[in-house]
């Protein structure tokens, strides 16, 4: 219970700091405050897909269904956080570029990512046998993750994009944020990561209970 109360206070402080501190980018104005939520949510999505990739490899190595369940949970949460990143990105796009969706390389790449992981769940629901479903979806999750760094980090930097590319690190790969903004940003990253860990554990426990119920 203690760490949950800490998380509540921590994230509340992050939210307060995000709105009370000066905007992170003066040219973009107050809309740039979304940076404190949009980037951590996108980071958690990448972390979730990475976990799904690792659990899928472990399933194929050991053939333990528990790893497949963990991979599925990670992917589901990854998809949720990608949707949150897309929504927060669209709000930012509306206030700075005038429309919610512009088919910018960053928006197109996140849309492809949504399709890729949407297909993962379509595949899972299409196969009835547990072992076959686990094997096929593990192979798919490994292939899907190969596209993640390319779609998240490479495509938006290779093509001309409206999306700010130097919000976190500049062209010399150095952080150029004032200390207060950097601390709030890192605190938000940590807070969202713990929120993900909590949600992951919770869903795992629910899945275990559901499996037990089915056996009964």
């Amino acid at each position: 219970m203690f760490w949950k109360v800490v998380l509540l206070i921590w994230m509340s402080a992050v939210i307060a700091a995000a709105f009370l501190l000066p905007a992170p980018q003066s040219q973009l104005g107050p809309a740039s405050r979304i940076f404190f939520f949009h980037v951590p949510v996108a980071w958690v999505a990448v972390l979730a897909f990475l976990l799904s990739f690792v659990f899928s490899i472990m399933y194929l190595k050991t053939r333990k269904l528990d790893y497949d369940a963990k991979a599925s949970t990670s992917s589901r949460l990854g998809l949720l956080f990608v949707i949150l990143a897309t929504i927060s990105g669209s709000i930012f796009a509306k206030s700075t570029w005038g429309s919610f969706w512009n088919w910018d390389p960053r928006e197109t790449s996140i849309f492809i990512l949504l399709l890729i992981y949407g297909a993962y769940f379509a595949l899972r629901s299409a196969v009835e046998s547990r072992e076959r479903r686990a094997a096929l979806s593990s192979a798919y999750a490994i292939m899907a993750f190969v596209a993640v760094p390319f779609l998240v980090f490479v495509v938006p930097r290779v093509y001309l994009s409206l999306h700010p590319t130097t919000s976190v690190i500049d062209v010399r790969l150095q952080m150029q944020m004032p200390p207060a903004i950097l601390i709030t940003f890192l605190a938000s990253l940590l807070g969202f990561t713990f929120l993900f860990i909590w949600m992951f554990n919770l869903e795992r426990r629910i899945n275990i209970l559901a499996a037990r119920q089915k056996e009964v």
Binding site: K4, M11, I15, R205
Partner: protein, 39 residues
């Protein structure tokens, strides 16, 4: 009230709502786990 403050209050309300939902779910799951252990 400035728009910044309004946005902060709305975000805080959403966060507290999400937190309370997760906490309630966590407690329900713990109770079910206890019950299934005793069963």
């Amino acid at each position: 009230m400035s728009s910044n403050l309004t946005a902060m209050i709305v975000t805080l309300i959403i966060w507290i709502g999400v937190f309370l939902y997760l906490l309630r779910l966590d407690r329900k799951v713990s109770r079910l786990e206890k019950n299934s252990k005793h069963a």
